[in-house]
């Protein structure tokens, strides 16, 4: 018996145009709401809440002022102070986070069990200066925490 020759059949082609339409719309929607920055968070407590200053022996405080950072802590029965001036002037936004990090690291070496610091920002300082202080006091993520328990005093 003679077989009929097979008819040539082209492979079916997918209609990709609707798919492209849908993907284009999705991309537009996602682009509108996309966040390209890489964000993180810095946590703190408000004094008077559940995590009020604990009255630790060190009683470490950092004031963020128009002149830089002003550190104070208790040592040998009295208060000790240290100033970290702005690098290049505070008006130019030069609050010295590295200097504060060095001072906090030295203090942490003497008091390794202390974890709390009270931050007292002055009214006129920009928020970036406050974050610079918080960032330095928490410590370098690669080197380990310094004073991660940040408390804001109203």
């Amino acid at each position: 018996m003679r077989r009929r020759p097979r008819l040539p059949v082209d492979p079916p082609e997918l209609n990709l145009v609707p798919l492209l339409d849908m993907v284009s719309l999705l991309i537009q929607m996602l682009l509108v709401s996309a966040q390209f920055g890489v964000y993180a968070e810095v946590d703190a407590h408000v004094a008077g809440g559940a995590a009020a200053p604990e009255g630790e022996p060190l009683a470490f405080e950092v004031a963020v002022t128009d002149d830089g950072f002003s550190l104070s802590w208790t040592a040998e029965g009295g208060r000790v102070g240290q100033e970290v001036a702005c690098a290049g002037g505070c008006a130019a936004g030069g609050w010295d986070g590295d200097g504060l990090l060095r001072a906090a690291t030295a203090l942490k070496a003497k008091h390794p069990k202390e974890v709390q610091v009270v931050i007292r920002p002055a009214d006129g300082v920009p928020f970036q200066a406050v974050v610079t202080a918080m960032d330095a006091l928490r410590g370098d993520p690669a080197a380990g925490p310094l004073f991660p328990d940040l408390v804001f005093s109203p």
Binding site: I27, L30, V38, A40, D43, H45, D123, V131, P154
Partner: protein, 172 residues
């Protein structure tokens, strides 16, 4: 006799050129990759973070991921809590009682919803608030918000920052 009778390959090519078909497969590949990238980006943070000329978050070396909480966006012109927007006082001006009341009510309302949801799950009431603050604002404009949040029971304040892992913590 046709011009392509002896070469089926040339004939197929000629037919495709004659129909004017675009090679869509490559475009679909590319768009699928873009879509996957954007979908991955979309799910990177659990809250919608604002970024605009009026709200530039401070920079820090923190690597702590942003967690969900009552979110307050504090720009130079307005404070936004959910659907509520309150105009910021002008530079140096104190917060008006009306603005404080609006912010306090919005915070209390958002917190109440979270407390109710936590109670249904049997969890303790949350006490955290996520603040996205413009880095140029003076602390005197931010401190009242921190105080209002504390009055609403939100005593754990988490500030959103832009990660700068390679740079020292200098303020700008």
């Amino acid at each position: 006799m046709s011009r392509y009778a002896r070469s089926p390959r040339l004939a197929r090519r000629h037919r495709a050129e004659a129909r004017g078909e675009l090679p869509l497969a490559a475009m679909v590949d590319m768009m699928t990759n873009i879509l996957l990238f954007l979908l991955n980006l979309y799910g990177a943070t659990p809250v919608a973070l604002e970024s605009s000329k009026e709200l530039q978050v401070a920079q820090a070396r923190s690597e702590d991921p942003v967690r969900y909480a009552v979110s307050v966006a504090v720009g130079r012109d307005r404070v936004r809590i959910g659907d509520t927007a309150v105009l910021m006082p002008a530079d140096g001006a104190p917060w008006t009682e009306d603005a404080r009341r609006q912010v306090g009510d919005a915070l209390a309302s958002a917190q109440q919803r979270r407390v109710d949801a936590a109670a249904q799950r049997g969890d303790p009431p949350p006490v955290d608030v996520l603040l996205q603050v413009d880095k140029r604002l003076a602390w005197s404009q931010v401190a009242p918000l921190v105080g209002l949040a504390a009055e609403a029971g939100l005593t754990e304040v988490r500030f959103v920052v832009a990660m700068t892992p390679e740079e020292p913590p200098q303020s700008r």
